[in-house]
Symmetry: C2
Subunit: 415 residues, 2 copies
Amino acid sequence: MRLELLTIGTELLLGHTVDTNAAELGRALAAAGAEITRRTTVPDRPDAIRAAVAEALDRTGFVIATGGLGPTRDDMTKTVVAELVGKRLVLDEGLLAALEARFKQLGRPMPALNRTQAEVPEGATVLPNPRGTAPGLWVEDARGRVAVLLPGVPREMRGLLVEEVLPRLVARQGTDRRVVLSRTVRTTGIAESALAERVGPIEPEILPLTLAYLPSVDGVDLRVTAWGLELRDAEARLAAVVERLRAAAGEHAYGQDGADVAAVVLDALRTGRHRLGVAESCTGGMVAARVTNIPGASDSFIGGVVAYADVVKTAALKVPIETLEAHGAVSEETVRAMAEGAQRLFSADCTIAVTGIAGPGGGTPDKPVGTVWLAARVHTATHAVKRVFPGDRDEIRRRAAQAALDLLRRLLAES
Amino acid sequence: MRLELLTIGTELLLGHTVDTNAAELGRALAAAGAEITRRTTVPDRPDAIRAAVAEALDRTGFVIATGGLGPTRDDMTKTVVAELVGKRLVLDEGLLAALEARFKQLGRPMPALNRTQAEVPEGATVLPNPRGTAPGLWVEDARGRVAVLLPGVPREMRGLLVEEVLPRLVARQGTDRRVVLSRTVRTTGIAESALAERVGPIEPEILPLTLAYLPSVDGVDLRVTAWGLELRDAEARLAAVVERLRAAAGEHAYGQDGADVAAVVLDALRTGRHRLGVAESCTGGMVAARVTNIPGASDSFIGGVVAYADVVKTAALKVPIETLEAHGAVSEETVRAMAEGAQRLFSADCTIAVTGIAGPGGGTPDKPVGTVWLAARVHTATHAVKRVFPGDRDEIRRRAAQAALDLLRRLLAES
């Protein structure tokens, strides 16, 4: 099944809005077995919309269009498409009643403008949109060609896609359906080249599935993709490959797909009935923020100290002044003392400590910008490591927070 | 000047990659006076690329194409376009020498494959790419139609755009150049509807400039856009409108364009020689992380406590147990005690404190999810406010961090 996407909006062309709808539609449609052969973006102008819809229908016979905000503009798209497929607009009584009920619930009269939202191309299927006033429309012309019109608001688009469009696409394909599906194995603490040495030999063996390396500040994701296979076959092959990739990546693999190492750490803490405290300097609260972003963090997380000025390191964390003077704030001795200090301060059995130079200033030949000391402590065992991270201030801080969480993950896995 | 964009990549259509290049090109080209009339994305297939380039040239006579990673795929795009405009590929000796020098510097021999990267369509202008091996190409056909080919790697694309493409586009337009330019006034702590009451009357008076309201978790941005005006005229009108918008938004306006309220607060702290400490519960380190994300934060920021468990509120911040028991952790009394406790702990004259219920659990009829108490303290003056934020856990936390920083900004502006 081949189709084209059309996203409508002058704001998209001007770059005021990044077209996240397009990416989301791409993933969902590929997984549902539809091949997107082209994507087009046009401004909010009837002639541009008409030309783009007509061309897409000529090429593939199926187009999904999003965008045109507010009742006025939605009507424009609808009117253009109705004319193009040779249908007149008729009032849908059910839609009108639903619209009126919606405004009644909000306690205000329905503006006359909204009445046009209840008009649909004759014979079109109305896709109910409980999240907004503009419904989706599934319009078929005399030759069986289909134009699906969806609102541009991401939340509304997503709802209609999942609840109305995907099931119809799946049903259209019957038992012939071929999907494009991906799974991701997340790794961290290993360079892309080193990971390739472990994983590379698997690549020829998993064909026709393909493997991509996706480096980011969180680590290197391994994305494996099955192209054009039957759904169950694709899922079974992906599951097998994911297992092989996890085994090859070893201790560097921390999860799959959208996994967050902070959530993995919290799971391990909960299982071991541990309690966590955090002491941060250069990450300035990012480690604690990552942990507390996970619902239920309060089961294991006690608290944190952002020891930005040295006086906080000595006063709150009891890092000896002599340690700071002899070794500096960015040193193994200091990060170990911070981890111990946090353990006392929070009466926690597990702690994480970070101290480093995020830049842009503050670097020296000995300790250049990017130098970070990390420590994780479980009971009386401490792992401390020095890393020199590349990138700008924000990237160094994000890499340091990820590495600090990962250090505790590894220590908990060993203990 | 009208043109079309073409982004090439199967990964874009599958939604594995969000097309940020397209948005960036949109902004830069509009500001340089080019109107993008259509944007197309096609997979890495010669027939799809050929069709899309040919159609774009037929419609506007000017296309900018990005994408096709690695030497093999770049050659595909180049070969297709050369054929389309009737030019043969010839070896560019200068380009070959530069490529060989690049590999020599890396200390390894140049693979034979890369030699094809030195081939260019006869007569094309080579746009040097110091950030990668694939140069940009400016190809003109016999009828004066132009295809500009850029690599898809965002860093390389951006460099070539700014250094090579935009200056040529500006020069082509001569004195006739008409640009689309925007400026943004950032506001926070005021609802969109209330802001519209203040700003609405200005709208008809600023025509042909237009105004858009852009709500986000940080507040409501007011974006004013000048369409198709001469550059200096556009800049002068925008500057005047920005002044009027700032005046109308009053104390709710905190900056322009990419301004961050954390940076505004740090500027005010530096000016007043203040020192800042932070005490956070539900935001879990996000306020401190926002502050320390700004280079030079150490001039004013001492440190923070993430008082997630109540024991940290009592032990580190000296919030009286009776206060917690009588009023609860999410209360005016507690947030005030946290702000005072942070002042003592950090010997800071300014503090921010936050305590609330981010959800998804923990809400009660009295204090539903989203209830947050915020305090800002300067010397002995404390402002405390209660807010009930909408959204999910992440959104509530981000709104709370922004509101907490803004509370201190307002208090510093008054003092």
